[in-house]
Symmetry: C2
Subunit: 337 residues, 2 copies
DNA sequence: TTGGATTATGCAATCGATTGCAGAATAGTC
DNA sequence: GACTATTCTGCAATCGATTGCATAATCCAA
């Protein structure tokens, strides 16, 4: 990282002022400079291997061309596609994404966001589902640009991108109902997450609407272990019979797989299970998992798009974008026996 | 991102020079300033909500406290743990990681690395397995700090962190041999990747050593599809019988699962399969996959550590760190019938 | 009390690029 | 040929923090 060529170096060789070099190299301003001069400077810059110093430029222009992306945990397989979606929109536009993992902790999230702001990110994409609404309102009044993904926060005046959680749960229940199931369990994600709330809420509504028996089991996290633990605890209590599980996400569904297995129950013969997200590998589980596909890549793209559009239209309304989801029927659901 | 408080703002309120504020706030230099003054300035800075501008600081100090991490594809499940390992070492030390995906394309990789350097990253962690050795030598002579992860490049004078590929393949073959298998297939990853070469090479050596029949099938990528396609093509050709597959990684092994299934072969009854990496969810496949565990998180940590250590000892030898791997025996391997 | 050391702070340059302003050079018009 | 308009380039300030150097202030010892 030593001996880098600077604008001044190019200027000296070309025998012109650094300002002229700057203008020549910037497509926006090159028309202010004589065509011949531009050609010469471009040539010299290339020969010298000049590359702009983004840091210095950012200081002057007050733009870092960097976006902070806040997610709970990169090892949750729904986030890599989302991040790549973000990237796919940002990169061609000269932006980079700085990714941080909050591990579901509101305090670390605040620390991380502050460090992102010290790094002068131009905006934030926030994909952590939990709390921190006050913090976000505060950011908004301070003029911080942001977009929320995969979370709803009614009070927060930022654009939001989500999958259609309600429609997903409805489709899941309708599918199970068509198979003849009447006794349902909803393995709900942690209740501080907005997606958990919506999914659980829709579950209740739909059960009522279709005249089904629905029971909600709460978990402590969106993880295999949390799903298994909650389900174990439930099954150990000799519950009233049920034949269908609608899980808050695929990891919880997978936890349910494990629990059912250790309790001698077969999926789908004894119990049908539906996941949520259609994360990678759900098709390779045993049995292949029926789940709700959520377009995480597209959500990332959309979030990035909404964020960058804020930079242009100063006063943009806090749009809500809901992307369509679809039920992927595989082999974890079957006719009620 | 507006109206940020600057050093000068704090200085004005405190009635001192910006330099004094800078020195007061930096633990390294605060002893140059009167204790009482430090206390006062610290207090005012806190009241005003001053946060340093990392960009400006980076311009002056020529350190961005940012590390570029180059991986093939974040959606390959081995990389999130690696990235988190990197992060876990960097974050407490004030560094951030800027992650880019090359998608296995050497040209995009070059473009991305250049953009990382324009952003003045202090160093690179490179986890892409393929080619580009000339580029890397060039970087080295230009004084770019870097560490290679998950790839061996004998000619490249950078520290390297890898799993013990050879030992992993040996353990896999010994396990299969102990189960009575004598006819082997190695589903090898793309041959421009260094890990592919080592794994394939060890496979050949070990087969010879143990008097086994080994055949290598090449694939075009480390993906489920590539594994399935290669295996399909092979099986369609009515090959000489075999009972064991050692796959180049878990994704290829999963591709083999699919192919075997569509060809009416059962794993493990007809064919035993071993993967490589022990990526997330391998335990939930059908059958649960026997595979070689590779400590990706630790590899990330180690890579970050080696990189930062270069910043201190100016002339560090290109260390090679090999982390131990272990065979995880599950249900995709069985006694030869 | 004086001189030398020490401490504390200010001054100003610097990092590398951008950009408003001004002035020089050239072109264009009547 | 004089005058305005246009084009081109240089100058210098600026972004925000850091840091070598200088100087003022204080201290201590003889």
């Amino acid at each position: 990282m030593r001996n880098r060529v600077t604008l001044a170096d190019v200027a000296k060789i070309a025998g012109v002022n650094p300002g002229t070099v700057s203008r020549s190299l910037n497509p926006q301003t090159e028309n202010q400079v004589n065509k011949e001069t531009v050609r010469k400077i471009r040539k010299i810059a290339k020969e010298l291997g000049y590359t702009p110093n983004t840091v210095a430029r950012g200081l002057r222009t007050r733009k870092s061309l960097t976006i902070g992306v806040v997610i709970p945990d990169l090892t949750n397989p729904i986030f890599p596609p989302l991040v790549r979606g973000v990237d796919s929109y940002l990169l061609p536009r000269g932006y980079s994404a700085l990714i941080v993992n909050s591990d579901g902790n509101v305090d670390t999230e605040l620390v991380l966001i502050n460090s992102l702001m010290e790094r002068q990110v131009d905006g934030l994409i926030i994909a952590t589902g939990h709390g921190g609404d006050e913090m976000l309102k505060d950011f908004h009044t301070r003029g911080v640009y942001a977009v929320m993904v995969n979370r709803e926060s009614p009070g927060v005046p930022y654009p939001t991108v989500t999958g259609d959680d309600g429609a997903g749960i409805s489709a899941a229940i309708e599918h199970l109902a068509a198979l003849g199931h009447t006794e349902y369990i909803h393995l709900a994600g942690p209740s501080d997450s907005s997606t958990s709330k919506i999914r659980a809420h829709t579950f209740t509504i739909e059960c009522k609407r279709l005249g089904l028996n629905g029971k909600i089991i709460k978990t402590t996290a969106y993880s295999i272990e949390a799903g298994q633990t909650a389900m174990d605890k439930f099954l150990d209590h000799k519950p009233s019979p049920f034949t269908a599980i609608v899980a808050g996400n695929d990891l919880l569904a997978l936890g349910a797989y494990h629990s059912l297995r250790t309790h001698g129950l077969n999926c789908p013969d004894d119990v049908s299970v539906i996941g949520f997200n259609n994360m990678p590998f759900t098709n390779d589980f045993q049995p292949p998992m029926t789940t709700v596909n959520v377009p995480h890549f597209d959500m990332g793209v959309e979030a990035a798009r909404l964020l960058l559009s804020q930079f242009e239209d100063e006063e943009s309304a806090p749009v809500k974008v809901t992307l369509p989801v679809s039920l992927i029927i595989r082999e974890s659901t079957a006719l009620k026996k």
